[in-house]
């Protein structure tokens, strides 16, 4: 167990190091002078030279990467070249918005996908099942940028049900979270459906019915728990990779989260912030993997004992 954890830890560290390396070198390959970006087009050669010296821009890339790692090891993500704000601080102040948006979206899509997945499996090939299949396919094929914009326009602007800015509470996040959840809900309803169909044919479901279990208990306790085993893995990966969707939704709805920070940093060509947001999302993916592994052992006892 200890060696497994240790191996896991090393693998995670190597992954993050790899991400840092790739991002750093890719950023370096971007054409243009960072100093010009920082100081502006009209800056004098002296200023540019000072900036080069200050940020070690003339050092060999290996040396600069080493410097960056050393700084990381001290828990310092550096400062923005543009605003001079500490990158860690920028991420932390924006984290609550992004976390709330993501959590709300995950809860929404799971809460909708589970009952639809279970009931379409129970009544498969019924008119209900087919309608849900059509709807699910629709949510999967509609371009999300269009859908998010439409929701914003109709529900926020035209009908005025949701605020278009100045988000203060959880409730204000409902519309952006719904726009994010729709990207996943159809896929998850079908995923749960497929797993449920398989599980419903299994002998232990028949045995639970033979013991006098009610349909609700048989479906949502005996069958669903087993059908969720493969779903949890995919859910873990999707939650980890959610930042891609968040990035987009936050920009459409002008939410002050990590997604907008990441996009701004790219437009500003602000390497420390780009590095910081990329490393942050990589850490999320690695962390989500850990959580999925732990959850897996809990949801499927056969894995814990390694059989």
């Amino acid at each position: 167990m200890i060696t497994r954890l240790f191996r896991r830890f090393i693998a995670s560290a190597v992954t993050l190091l790899g991400v840092a390396f790739l991002t750093f070198f890719l950023l370096n390959a971007v054409p243009g002078d960072i100093a010009r970006v920082i100081a502006g087009a009209k800056a004098s050669p002296e200023v540019i030279k000072d900036i080069h010296a200050k940020y070690h821009l003339d050092d060999p890339i290996w040396q600069r990467f080493g410097l960056y790692l050393k700084q990381l090891a001290h828990g310092d993500l550096g400062h923005s070249y543009v605003t001079d704000q500490s990158v860690a601080e920028a991420i932390i102040t924006r984290l609550p918005t992004t976390a709330a948006l993501s959590a709300l979206a995950v809860v929404m899509w799971v809460a909708v996908a589970v009952p639809f997945g279970v009931l379409t499996a129970r009544f498969r090939n019924s008119a209900f099942d087919r309608s849900v299949l059509v709807l699910a396919t629709l949510t999967l094929s509609v371009p999300s940028f269009w859908l998010a914009r439409m929701m914003q326009y109709w529900l926020g602007y035209k009908l005025g049900w949701f605020p278009l800015g100045f988000y203060r509470s959880f409730v204000d996040l409902l519309l952006p979270a719904a726009a994010l959840a729709i990207l996943f809900v159809g896929y998850y309803a079908r995923l749960i459906h497929t797993n449920m169909v398989e599980v419903l044919d299994s002998p232990y479901v028949r045995a639970a019915r033979a013991r006098g279990g009610s349909e609700t208990v048989v479906l949502f306790k005996h069958a669903l728990r087993n059908a969720m085993i493969p779903v949890v893995t995919i859910l873990g990966m999707d939650v980890a990779g959610l930042l891609a969707g968040v990035l987009f939704i936050e920009n459409v709805f002008a939410l002050p989260g990590i997604g907008t920070l990441a996009v701004q940093s790219v437009f500003n060509l602000d390497p420390p912030v780009i590095m910081g947001t990329v490393l942050f999302s990589a850490t999320l993916v690695v962390g989500a993997n850990w959580v999925v592994d732990l959850l897996y052992g809990w949801i499927d006892p056969r894995i814990k004992s390694g059989s």
Partner: protein, 324 residues
């Protein structure tokens, strides 16, 4: 009053002209506390019959096309879903073939037993009762075993747990559908012995479904032999084993391996069980029957009581060729 009385049961799969009749006019009677074995090859309709007693066949595709299933005097085929939930477990409990697959892999066995108790005897849903039941089915160290997951137990232990779950609601009838098929021979004998003990101890009736005539003698009071969706012979066990009347029963008996037989090849029944929907006309066994006559393919023989409590579906049961 018999505990279970199946009258002229017809079960079909699908509807309309394409419907396939898997069970065709089966009648069975089981008195309280007795054991009835239903014997037949795969595809004979014996499991379908067994599952229909608590209406466990998925419907659709299964259709209960006719007949009655009287369980303690009430027709199961007319029960509401709520009544069905009461009798499932409460009156009739099931033990299935693959215990490993019939136990839910993600719940501890103690909790699975407790759940059956909660559904039918809520006041008894305690650890103490779970331990008592595990002891009853012969599981050593029940206090620690109740925290095991199914995959942590051997096949024989899993089947004992299944039996404990089946016994938890104190049913009047235990339906065991091929309970030993997935187990090796020594464990098979232990499970049959356990079922036999429990029947005497608890006074419940057992309906045992098996394809193995070899285990019938150890436990049954009566035997019904099924072939292609019909009963071909019923008799008290001793008489059936000593003097089988139907050619199919005789062929089945010949194919049971015997320890002290002097070498030789094991007898088999030529051909295969006809596929559902492709049952031959006339007597359904005639293509495989060594004694078939030309008219066997023409007229379907009825099930006739030829001696007291001995029913046979063969008009030539008494012919000299069969006795030889």
């Amino acid at each position: 009053m018999p505990l279970l009385e199946i009258r002229n049961l017809q079960i079909e799969f699908g509807r309309g002209p394409k419907a396939l009749r898997a069970v065709d006019g089966v009648s069975l009677t089981l008195e309280p506390g007795k054991t009835l074995c239903v014997v037949g090859e795969s595809g004979s309709g014996k499991s379908v019959t067994a599952l229909s007693i608590a209406r466990l066949l998925a419907s659709p595709p299964a259709v209960y096309a006719g007949g009655e299933i009287l369980l303690a005097g009430r027709d199961v085929l007319r029960m509401s879903p709520a009544e069905l939930r009461q009798i499932r477990g409460g009156v009739v409990s099931y033990v299935f073939q693959e215990a490993g697959a019939s136990l839910n892999p993600v719940f501890r066995i103690g909790n699975q037993i407790k759940e059956a108790l909660r559904w039918h005897r809520p006041q008894a849903a305690t650890d103490a009762e779970v331990i008592r039941l595990l002891k009853l089915v012969g599981i050593p160290a029940p206090e620690s075993r109740m925290c095991c997951y199914p995959h942590e137990l051997s096949g024989g232990m899993q089947q004992r747990v299944m039996i404990a779950i089946a016994l938890a609601p104190q049913p009047k009838l235990l339906v065991a559908d091929e309970p030993t098929t997935a187990l090796d021979v020594t464990i098979q004998a232990q499970i049959i012995e356990l079922l036999s003990d429990l029947r005497h101890q608890l006074g419940m009736a057992i309906l045992l479904i098996t394809h193995n005539l070899g285990i019938v003698g150890d436990i049954a009071d009566d035997v019904a032999v099924m072939y292609a969706g019909q009963i071909v012979e019923t008799a008290p066990v001793r008489e059936l084993l000593q003097r089988p009347l139907h050619p199919y029963t005789r062929a089945l008996m010949n194919s049971v391996p015997v320890l002290d037989s002097a070498g030789g090849r094991l007898a088999t029944i030529a051909g295969a069980v006809p596929r559902l929907g492709a049952f031959p006309g006339g007597c359904r066994f005639h293509p495989r029957c060594p004694l078939a006559r030309p008219d066997c393919s023409q007229t379907a023989p009825p099930l006739v009581e030829v001696e007291l409590r001995r029913w046979v579906r063969c008009p030539y049961w008494n012919s000299p060729a069969l006795k030889a």
